[in-house]
Amino acid sequence: MAASNRAVTKTRNSHLSPEENDTSDTRVAECARLVRQAAAGDRDAMERLLMQAQEVAFRFSFLVCGHAQDAEDVMQDALLKTYRHIGRIREPEHFRTWLYKTVRNTCLMKRRRRVDEPSHLLSIEQGGPASGDGFTAVDVEDPAQGPDEAAMNTWLGERLRAALKALPPSYRMIVFLREMEGLSTREVAKVTGISEANVKTRLHRARGILREQLEDV
């Protein structure tokens, strides 16, 4: 009886190894705790949060948008907006999605403002039929400034960097948010404005492409 019951019960256990199974709920709760402490005047918590905000901004800017020269501006923007946001925050649990959304929008705005951007890229950013996330046809550039190649490869690994670069940009953002940053499917949908079903489809395809890229070497 018990066995047959178990067979029809939905399993929510991921089939990834435990350390790969760090749930986004835990991260949301940890982040919300830090936000509450910072809002209550804890300077250490505020410093950690401001560091995290800038780190998210750097990773997003570098890995998704691909304009390394923008990373510094995006970090600065995330720093100031986070500081202001903490001062009037009502729902600390929503901080994480707020941060990713804010950083994503800043990257998009920067892209739009770039005077040297070819106009055909601008039209795609407004969201072609297949996009909905604003990053459809933009490729990752190699960094012109900031950390050197060696430092970036130490950070990410050369193979993974190359594999991410080969992904269609709209898939890259999903992989970034879901796999690298550990957001849940629902959070990714909120940040990107794509449906949860679409997030899953893109993630599935992106994982397949990445696997082939990584095995190809």
């Binding site: 401001l50 900031g146 095995e215």
Partner: protein
């Protein structure tokens, strides 16, 4: 999902890894992979891929970036304090 069908198995692998399938569907995948080397290697490859991404996501940023970020935090908090 039929246990013998590679295409059906492969279509569900992502959901399987994320723990979104019914227990019976998980069993079907696991049974299939015990007998199909090709699907088993895809599952192993995807696990490895996801693992690499997650590892990279939690790796500390280059020192130069962190130093810059720390400096900006110090500067902002000093400004706001005065």
């Amino acid at each position: 999902m039929k246990a013998g069908d590679c295409a059906a198995i492969l279509a569900h692998i992502s959901a399987y890894l994320d723990g979104e399938l019914e227990a019976t569907e998980c069993d079907a995948i696991e049974r299939h992979c015990r007998e199909c080397d090709s699907c088993a290697s895809v599952v192993a490859g995807l696990r490895h891929t996801v693992g690499l991404c997650r590892e990279a996501g939690s790796a500390p940023l280059p020192d130069v970036v962190r130093a810059k970020a720390r400096e900006s935090v110090k500067k902002l908090l000093a400004e706001k304090k005065s």
